[in-house]
């Protein structure tokens, strides 16, 4: 095994004979003159996020904080979901209620559910780490609010709550915000921009191949 490693490194060093020995990687200039932040006011960014998400075929609603849990419960009833799993860190006021509007809605905690168990569950309710307005992207970081990766992958419905204060304008803002958690805690990150889709058959867009076929985003506003 070490034979291959040493040989490949040797080939690379031979191939790079033109690079001066004194040069370090940091000596190769990388101009970063692109936008790093977005100075548009928050209401405009929230509006943009909603537009972008709808463009991907996601369903988007804006709800006042006091009504968030009720909105989730209503959505579950409307889609006739019988069993949903919630991310462990989802605040109480964002959780659907099992005794309220929807008759018989079963709300499950994720106590290490297997993929097979999740395959028999209708939906997942999670928060997110941030949302990127420009690209309509939900940033899931595997922590308590976003939940484990498998939660938002196997069940057919994903209901994601986004606090309006979590919305950023540009991709670099979201990437910077993740840097510490990735470097220190090695959190797994999933960027979700709309639902699963394919254009593999005659370029005709089909939504919902392997991930959840329905994505509902609730923007929670103060």
């Amino acid at each position: 095994v070490s034979g291959a490693r040493e040989e490949i490194l040797g080939r690379i060093r031979t191939a790079l004979r033109d690079v001066p020995r004194s040069e370090a990687a940091a000596d190769v200039p990388v101009p970063r003159d692109y936008r790093h932040a977005d100075d548009r006011p928050m209401p405009e960014l929230v509006e943009l996020l909603c537009d972008r998400l709808r463009d991907y075929g996601a369903e988007v609603r804006r709800v006042p904080a006091a009504d968030a849990g009720g909105a989730v419960t209503d959505a579950c009833a409307r889609m006739a979901l019988a069993r949903v799993v919630v991310a462990p860190g989802l605040p109480a006021q964002w959780r659907p209620s099992s005794d309220g509007g929807a008759a018989g809605l079963q709300v499950l905690e994720d106590d290490g559910l297997t993929a097979r168990q999740l395959d028999a569950i209708d939906g997942a309710v999670t928060g997110c780490a941030s949302a990127i307005a420009e690209t309509g992207t939900l940033v899931l970081d595997g922590q308590a609010l976003s939940g484990r990766r498998v939660l938002t992958l196997v069940p057919d419905h994903h209901i994601c709550l986004v606090g309006s204060e979590q919305v950023v304008g540009q991709v670099p803002e979201a990437i910077s915000a993740l840097a510490t958690a990735v470097a220190q805690e090695r959190v797994p990150v999933t960027l979700v921009s709309g639902g699963s889709a394919t254009s593999d058959i005659e370029l005709s867009r089909v939504e919902g191949v392997h991930g959840p076929r329905h994505l509902l985003v609730l923007i929670v506003e103060p």
């Binding site: 921009s193 699963s196 394919t198 593999d200 370029l203 089909v206 991930g211």
Partner: protein
């Protein structure tokens, strides 16, 4: 010699003639390339700092490649620290053996696999099959290719040469769980694949994935995709084996902010692709608990050794250059006989596999430059093509073989350059040409040139010189 996938080598002109005669292929490809091309232009136009992003994307790759050894060692250290195991493979055979041994070590005979061009290069599936291991392709198009024992024709939409009726027939023939009354509605076809693959995802212990970017600083590996099969393969199995060419490393976490903007808009013409997975080694209780990263050379260091050609390793596999290329649009991907078709394939394949193997590919271009304009990491493809043509001529002069055909062309090109540079010579040549062409012209076209020039018309028709040149007309009208 390095074989980079695809079929047995026949030259591009021979393969292109077959492809050009396939009207279904040409129609599908023409539609696909034009559609994606127009959408890409729209989503790129809405980004005010696109050029700044391109320049950053190019510069980060330059930084990466000029210090590739350091970056790979850093990646190895950070992946190992995060609980992963790093393997090094000099060539296809070694790559396939490492992966086969890992799978065999778990005592299983089937794996799920998300799209990986690198494993297409190494012909991993065939190598695993010889050991009795079946690798299920889970990307819809790759599944279609696999079930039909076919070859991909485009790196982004590999089954674009198949129409819906052909896909329905294929599913009915090869998928036992396909309903007998399956229609050719793409939604129904996708649903059939979903159900077939869901079962496999839930019961398969080992997943194999490709890699879009691997961050040296943090050990983070990423897969950028649309369908969700990549998430399935990298999340559900107990064991994950990810395979990457050594050029896929990038130095820092922050560098992702550049490529995650450049890639989706250039590739599927979306503001962002539906799913991007970024994992760092192993996370307890979340995802695979055993992770292997295989670093593959398989000809990359040959490319790195070419100071002009090195930039081809910047490629992030977006396929924007395929969609704008007038040659690709007409011939399709199969004619290139390689995992990498189109303009990027025309430079990458000969450098990966050697000029003996793919010496005709640098000529599969009209040098129009559209590929360079759309490239999100600014690979100057025309520059590398011209450089490689020069290398081909030099190579043949030393190696024999194509010498007789190429030497006169080399001489002719040099002579033409002198004629184009001198107005008097140019006009005299036009007059001489008009006189000389009449016995060759048939129905307004020249389809066969004589003698040493016949090679030129073997793959192209020429328009005869007009009766009157623009210069003559201008002089006549304006007395200039």
């Amino acid at each position: 010699m390095t074989d980079v996938g695809g079929r047995d080598p026949i030259s591009f002109p021979e393969a292109a003639r077959t492809a050009l005669a396939d009207t279904q292929l040409r129609r599908n490809l023409g539609y696909a390339t034009h559609t994606i091309r127009a959408k890409r232009a729209d989503v790129v136009a809405e980004v005010p700092d696109w050029e700044e992003l391109r320049e950053a994307g190019r510069a980060i790759k330059e930084r990466t490649l000029r210090h590739l050894d350091d970056h790979l060692l850093q990646l190895e250290a950070s992946v190992t620290a995060a609980g992963g195991v790093v393997h090094w493979a000099r060539d296809a055979e070694e790559c396939n053996r490492i992966i086969g041994d890992l799978i065999a070590g778990h005592g299983i005979d089937q794996v799920v696999k998300s799209k990986s061009l690198t494993t297409e290069e190494t012909k991993l599936n065939e190598a695993l099959a010889q050991r009795g291991i079946h690798a299920w392709e889970t990307d819809l198009a790759q599944l279609i290719i696999q079930l039909g024992d076919d070859m991909p024709s485009h790196i982004l939409v590999p089954a674009i040469h198949k129409n819906r009726a052909q896909i329905r027939d294929l599913f009915l023939r090869t998928l036992p769980d396909a309903p007998a009354d399956l229609s050719d509605d793409p939604r129904e076809l996708a649903e059939t694949a979903r159900l077939h693959l869901r079962r496999l995802f839930l019961e398969t212990k080992v997943g194999i994935s490709g890699v879009n970017f691997a961050v040296a600083e943090t050990g983070t590996v990423s897969v950028v995709e649309s369908e969700g099969n990549g998430r399935m393969c990298t999340t559900l199995p107990e064991v994950l084996i990810s395979v990457m060419g050594i050029e896929k490393v990038i130095p820092a976490w922050q560098d992702l902010e550049v490529y995650l903007q450049l890639l989706p808009r250039s590739s599927t013409a979306e503001r962002m692709n539906p799913y991007t997975s970024l994992w760092t080694g192993i996370t307890e209780g979340d995802g695979p608990q055993e992770f292997h990263l295989v670093l593959v050379d398989h000809g990359r260091t040959n490319v790195l050794a070419d100071e002009i050609g090195r930039q081809a390793l910047n490629c992030i596999r977006c396929s924007a250059c395929l969609n704008v290329c007038p040659v690709y649009e007409r011939t399709g991907g199969h004619a290139y006989g390689s995992t990498y078709p189109g303009p990027i394939g025309a430079i990458l394949t000969p450098m990966l596999s050697g000029l003996d193997h793919a010496g005709s590919l640098p000529y599969a271009s009209s040098l129009c430059g559209a590929c360079y304009e759309v490239c999100p990491v600014k690979i100057n493809i025309p520059q590398v093509l011209v450089h490689l043509r020069d290398e081909v001529v030099r190579h043949e002069r030393h190696g024999g073989g194509l010498r007789d055909r190429l030497e006169p062309e080399h001489v002719a090109m040099r002579t033409l350059a002198r004629v184009f540079a001198n107005r008097r010579l140019y006009e005299a040549a036009q007059r001489a040409g008009r006189l000389a062409q009449w016995p060759l012209t048939r129905r307004g076209k020249i389809t066969h040139l004589p003698g040493p020039l016949s090679g030129w018309t073997a793959a192209r028709d020429l328009h005869p010189l007009p009766e009157q040149s623009f210069r003559d007309w201008w002089r006549q009208e304006h007395g200039g």
